[in-house]
């Protein structure tokens, strides 16, 4: 629990939050102790109530229970070396230490600057990949149920599922070091796939020796598995095109075109890397008598041994996640090829892009008009680099980096593109999804299994789910409206709407 939390009356708390315009709220220094910069939260009128309600409850309840997201944003603003703002995206909600939807950048030239596993999250390099096809909704319709079942049979999903890609400890180490390059060597990837991944699907600072045996053992049976919870594989239809030029560059040229979205991460391997380093850093902080606003913000100086070890292990886990999404891409291509008696090539099943929304990376950004090398933490936030940025592939130089935003079961997903304003305001970052608004327990108690399934069926969505209770927990009613999240980012100008996708088949844990 937080050691230095200030509890005030709700009205007093509000005096620290300043509305700047219809989508920007500043959290002023003094809201929690030791804030080095202000917080900045992007929400519009229709979603800001979630944040205020959480804060109001906290004021009434006192310091017991979890911290509201606004407090967490402010606590992160108190960490050594932070620059700019501690940023909150519209899909923000309370998480472990850092809220989910938080972006925070630390100056690498400042020797006190930190790295925090809580700023990345337990699912290292959880991310979204989008594949396109040259099929249309009409092609899918007659065989939709069979296709849905075939995808469910091809891609291992749910609790305790085992991967079908043969793996041993030696090949695992190679995968951890090489990321998608390993998949390419093994024949699970096309050369072009790599081009369309953030970091080209491989973080070069990955060091498999910094990943514990325990983490590797958890990862070994799970490569090429989707997982459970909010992870999914969806067959989607292009519903609306907002930016024709950008969509064309992505190979999306008409409404009704079929795409496939994969949302998954680094599985047990990444979870264990995060757990290992959090435990280590918490212990080290107790040893060194370092007191932060919240114990969950466990962190180390970037240049310390613990900090460097975490960054190398995190990078290896990130590579595992790319190999994981690549392996499922391979399986998806097989399933489609069989279903349409064709080849993935002839179905034009190219990767549009692959983004990470739980990661920390060294990037160069302008701070007060001067370029600086920063360590940018994005937890439940997506990189959204502007046109002409050197780190985005040549295909997207004129459009800006594609940003993939997964909706929730039964709701739409979006493709956005990065903007120059985002580079200046949010270190080239935007939202990552809908963000929960309702606890899993409440969802399970308030919604009925058949109601949720009926409502999906009414929308023409086929679904295969491994666990019945997930159906309620992941129902759209449990999440913030993804449309409002996207509108807020678009209005603020930190990313731009490009394509809207509607699900027609969902595979879930």
């Amino acid at each position: 629990m937080s050691e230095k939390s200030v509890v005030r009356e709700f009205e007093d708390e509000l005096s620290f939050i300043e509305k700047i315009d219809s989508v920007r709220y500043r959290v002023k220094k003094g809201f929690v102790p030791n804030m080095k910069v202000d917080g900045m939260i992007y929400v519009n009128d229709s979603i800001k109530d979630y944040l205020y309600e959480e804060l109001e409850q906290f004021s009434k309840r006192g310091v017991s229970g979890f911290l509201p997201a606004v407090k967490q944003i402010a606590n992160v603003a108190s960490l050594p070396g932070i620059v700019g703002h501690s940023l909150g995206m519209p899909d923000i909600h309370s998480g472990y230490g850092f809220s989910i939807g938080n972006v925070a950048a630390f100056d690498t030239e400042d020797p006190l600057s930190i790295v925090s596993p809580g700023g990345v999250g337990f699912d290292i390099n959880c991310g979204v990949r989008l594949l396109r096809t040259n099929l249309t909704e009409k092609d899918i319709e007659p065989i939709k149920e069979q296709l849905c079942q075939s995808l469910f049979d091809h891609v291992p999903v749910g609790v305790g599922s085992k991967g079908v890609i043969p793996m041993n400890i030696k090949t695992l180490n190679q995968a951890l070091e090489m990321g998608v390059d390993w998949s390419l060597g093994e024949g699970y990837a096309w050369v072009e796939d790599k081009e369309h991944c953030e970091e080209y699907g491989r973080m070069l600072n990955a060091d498999p020796t910094k990943v514990s045996e325990r983490a590797k053992k958890r990862g070994l049976p799970q490569l090429g598995t989707l997982g459970a919870g909010n992870h999914y594989l969806e067959v989607q239809v292009v519903d609306e095109i907002y930016d024709k030029a950008a969509a064309n560059k992505m190979g999306i040229d008409r409404q009704g075109q079929i795409c496939i979205m994969i949302h998954s991460g680094s599985r047990g391997l990444g979870h264990q890397v995060a757990t290992d380093s959090l435990t280590l850093m918490e212990k080290a902080m107790a040893r060194d008598h370092i007191h932060l606003n919240d114990k969950q913000l466990a962190c180390s100086r970037i240049n310390s041994q613990e900090g460097q070890d975490y960054l190398s292990g995190m990078a290896a886990a990130a590579n595992f996640a790319w190999v994981n999404r690549q392996s499922m891409t391979f399986l998806t291509r097989q399933a489609f090829a069989k279903a349409f008696n064709s080849t993935p090539d002839d179905l034009d099943m190219h990767v549009i892009y692959d983004v990470s929304h739980n990661i920390a990376k060294f990037e160069e950004h302008n701070v007060n008009g001067r370029p600086k090398k920063l360590l940018v933490h994005r937890k439940g936030a997506t990189r959204a680099f502007a046109p002409h940025h050197p780190l985005i592939p040549v295909d997207y130089q004129f459009t800006g980096q594609p940003v993939l935003i997964g909706g929730t079961m039964g709701t739409c997903s979006y493709v956005l593109t990065g903007t120059e304003l985002g580079m200046n305001e949010t270190f080239g970052s935007t939202c990552h999804g809908a963000g929960r608004s309702c606890s899993r327990n409440k969802s399970r108690n308030n919604l009925s299994y058949t109601d949720v399934l009926d409502s999906l069926q009414a929308k023409g969505i086929s679904i295969r789910v491994a666990s019945p209770k997930l159906v309620m927990e992941e129902a759209p009613e449990s999440y913030k409206d993804v449309v409002q999240v996207i509108e807020t980012c678009h209005k603020a100008g930190i990313s731009k709407k490009s394509v809207k996708l509607r699900p027609i088949a969902v595979i879930k844990g």
Partner: protein, 151 residues
């Protein structure tokens, strides 16, 4: 699916948390509350009333060590999560056979079966155990434990 009941798991409840889930268990002493905590976690991953401890059931001894009570509880749960993630064994019976409060060690024997998706109803994957809002309360006639796991 046949219902085999929850067996040893009886003193538990699931509590609200926006993105994650909080487990609350209790018992006449800390030992019982800890055993219930291991079982509630297993029940969250695979519904225990769909699990039968038949002749295929195996026993496993688990030894863990912490540096205080919180870290000992963390280590106990992390170890059972590890066994499930790597060997796919779902435990329906747990007995703590040694509990050293000075050196913070626990030895426990778990009895369980390998996950079989054709027989068992799966729940949600647990990514990690957390220290968030962790609470161990020991009283003469009742002990309580609260843990949030990341899912």
């Amino acid at each position: 699916m046949e219902n085999f009941g929850l067996g040893q798991l009886k003193n538990y409840e699931y509590l609200d948390h926006t993105a994650d889930i909080m487990f609350h268990t209790w018992g006449k002493d800390l030992k019982e509350a800890l055993e219930q905590m291991v079982l509630i976690m297993n029940n969250y991953m695979v519904e225990l009333d769909s699990v039968e401890l038949d002749e295929s059931a195996t026993e496993q001894t688990i030894s863990v060590k912490g540096h205080d009570m919180d870290s000992l509880l963390f280590a106990l749960l992390d170890e059972f999560l590890f066994v499930f993630s790597t060997e796919f064994i779902i435990f329906k019976q747990v007995e703590i056979i040694s509990f050293d409060r000075e050196n913070f060690t626990i030895e426990a024997i778990g009895k369980g079966v390998e996950l079989d998706k054709s027989k068992h109803t799966t729940g949600t994957e647990i990514k990690a155990i957390t220290y968030s809002c962790m609470k161990i309360e020991e009283n003469p006639d009742k002990s309580d434990i609260h843990v949030i796991v990341d899912i």
